[in-house]
């Protein structure tokens, strides 16, 4: 018997707890904090108290000793009611804390991880620059120059999630430290010369914090080098492989949210003497959403399983991310159609998801980048 699709009882129990938290605490507040483009710090703190930001980390740093699948289950359940908080969790864990956990020295872990893992503080990961995000090696202009025991950093970063919230403590950035030598460096946000721009006016993810970062002669100790000097490129490739699985879970949450909302509305709303869900044109749309959700869910869980079993998972993570994000965009469009005019308001979850879906095809590697990864892995 090599095949098992079930969750452990504890994973299922935790999934239900997160689902309940999402329904009771996040869902009723989501229309407002999105409309106000407000980062809901009180809710993020409560997510921290439940241990959501610590799921895959060791209890030695205050973590939950959980696994990557359990993290994905939590991201899916949060993402089912609100994508902004889903990405806040995904980026907080996957981009903020995970690189320090995976590549950091014991001293760095002791210093930064406990607060991040408890969700009391948030970390960011700054890779993308104004010159471009897909071709990181070719577009990075940020430089760090060694001066005694310090790095002196100059440059800028663009679109960095969780970088400017009142909880943010550190941003890990990539910079060239020599010719073709990319190094990741941990920068505390209170370092002089470091500044964040005003929040972007985004199409979606309104309540998620996204910032431009400027580094003007920012001086941090060489001890803040994440792992080895020159390992930055390899590290971020690994970080993004994991992140893609988590983004797939976020996308599946969006599709599931569309299904839940459409089933409810399809039974409630009437036209021509019957519930609209009894018009086949509407029922079939919703059936297709279910197909997408189940297929994408199995794919991200499979990628997760490969990662947790120690198998290669680069290709599977790319497939999961590509498929789930493209299905999410379709799901949001179709669910909005099911809701008619109400779907075009941000009072409805499907209306908000219509705004939120598109970024899933862009962040942590665009669809084109995923197809490139898959085709290269096939030997093309």
């Amino acid at each position: 018997m090599g095949l098992s699709f079930g969750l452990e009882p504890e994973q299922e129990q935790f999934r239900q707890v997160v689902a309940r938290f999402a329904d009771e605490v996040i869902a009723p507040a989501a229309a407002d904090f999105n409309a106000e483009a407000r980062f809901p710090v009180d809710i993020v703190r409560r997510m921290g108290e439940m241990g959501l930001f610590g799921i895959p980390f060791s209890s030695a740093y205050g973590g939950m000793d959980g696994d990557y699948l359990t993290l994905c289950l939590a991201i899916e359940e949060i993402g089912r009611v609100d994508q902004s908080l889903g990405i806040t969790l995904e980026a907080g864990v996957g981009l903020g804390a995970a690189p320090i956990d995976e590549f950091g020295t014991e001293e760095q872990k002791q210093r930064w991880l406990p607060e991040l893992v408890r969700g009391e503080r948030l970390g960011g990961f700054g890779l993308t620059e104004s010159g471009g995000g897909s071709d990181v090696f070719g577009s990075t202009r940020t430089r760090a120059v060694r001066d005694g025991d310090d790095w002196v950093i100059d440059g800028d970063k663009q679109f960095i999630t969780n970088a400017g919230t009142e909880l943010t403590s550190v941003v890990t950035i990539t910079a060239f430290t020599g010719d073709g030598e990319m190094t990741a460096i941990i920068v505390p946000v209170d370092t002089p010369g470091f500044s964040v721009g005003r929040p972007y006016r985004k199409v979606g993810w309104h309540a998620s914090d996204t910032r431009e970062l400027t580094f003007d002669q920012v001086r941090v100790p060489v001890a803040n080098t994440l792992g080895e000097r020159g390992a930055g490129f390899r590290q971020f490739l690994k970080t993004l492989d994991d992140g893609r699985i988590a983004i797939s879970a976020l996308a599946v949450g969006l599709i599931q949210g569309c299904i839940d909302e459409c089933v409810r509305y399809g039974r409630e709303r009437e036209s021509f003497g019957r519930p609209i869900g009894q018009h086949q044109a509407i029922a079939f749309k919703i059936a297709d959403l279910e197909v997408a959700a189940q297929t994408a869910r199995q794919m991200y869980r499979y990628a997760c399983w490969r990662k947790m079993t120690g198998l290669t998972y680069k290709r599977e993570a790319a497939i999961a991310k590509l498929y789930a994000s493209e299905q999410a965009v379709t799901a949001a469009r179709e669910a909005t159609q099911v809701f008619g005019g109400m779907g075009f308001t941000t009072e409805t979850r499907v209306g908000r998801f219509y705004q939120d879906a598109k970024i899933l095809e862009i962040g942590e590697g665009t669809s084109e980048v995923q197809r490139t990864l898959i085709s290269r892995d096939l030997g093309l």
């Binding site: 504890e10 707890v17 409560r46 108290e49 439940m50 799921i55 209890s59 000793d65």
Partner: protein, 261 residues
């Protein structure tokens, strides 16, 4: 201090419940079973006593073996140990029968405080906490919307229609809490994982020295003879505001008639 929290497995409050016509009890198959939501307030209060008074908290459940996940669920909030009383003879117990089993189980335990939810969402009798206190000869403080421990005494705000009374008693005591007392937290993943390995003691009626005739359907003092479906909701009265102020008078009359004012 030592605290005991009796909890109950109930049919999902939000689910559509059915009565099994064969034995006139709730058809457990028809709806998912959950930890009684009112218990979550007692559990939260117990967790706060852990934080403030280093309390050691045991959760007690009277129910069939299949209810064990509910004990683990209660433990996942961070409680220390479980005690389950399981016996076929308990099936069909009424409030008094249940209280007898709980009281006997408590007699074997050392405790300063027993924290009940004031009612369960399936039966809603509110009888069990007071009956347990009576059987044990302990002070009974019901409907607590606020609770404070001070040395060897407990003070509660006992809720009633006109406000609340401040009631103090020596410990040990039996307290039942209402939902206004706190806002329960959600269990953490760590709590759920830890609950798996918390000690859980399972006892039978014989272990506790309870005579089977005193409990279960045979020992019940209340018998259900007949049941009917809930009548469909009737349409309410609509009061139209015609701008003359007559609607206000009509509303006031209606509220007086219903004894809301």
């Amino acid at each position: 201090m030592k605290v005991l929290v009796p909890v109950k497995r109930v049919p999902d409050t939000a689910g559509e419940k059915k009565i099994d016509p064969n034995d006139n009890t709730v058809d457990r198959e028809s709806v998912e079973s959950v930890l009684c939501p009112v218990n979550e307030f007692a559990i939260e209060e117990a967790v706060r006593l852990k934080e403030s008074h280093d309390a050691e908290v045991t959760v007690l459940l009277v129910g069939p073996e299949s209810a064990q996940p509910i004990v683990r669920k209660a433990l996942s909030y961070g409680l220390d140990a479980g005690l389950q009383v399981t016996d076929d003879a308990i099936a069909g117990s009424d409030a008094l029968g249940t209280a007898r089993v709980i009281a006997k189980a408590l007699e074997e335990q050392e405790f300063d405080l027993v924290l009940f939810g004031n009612q369960s969402t399936d039966a809603r009798t509110c009888l069990v906490p007071a009956a347990v206190a009576e059987l044990l000869g302990l002070p009974s403080l019901t409907y607590a919307r606020h609770l404070e421990i001070d040395g060897g005494s407990v003070t509660v705000h006992r809720e009633h229609e006109e406000g609340w009374d401040v009631v103090t008693s020596q410990l040990p005591a039996v307290v039942s809490v209402v939902e206004a007392i706190n806002e329960p937290r959600y269990p953490s993943f760590k709590g759920i994982m830890a609950a798996k390995s918390k000690p859980l003691d399972v006892r039978s009626l014989a272990d506790l020295g309870v005579e089977p005739e005193q409990v279960g359907a045979n020992g019940a003092t209340a018998t259900m003879y007949e049941f009917k479906d809930r009548p469909p909701k009737e349409a309410g009265t609509i009061v139209e505001d015609d701008g003359t102020g007559a609607a206000a008078a009509q509303l006031a009359d209606w509220m007086t008639e219903k004894k809301f004012v």
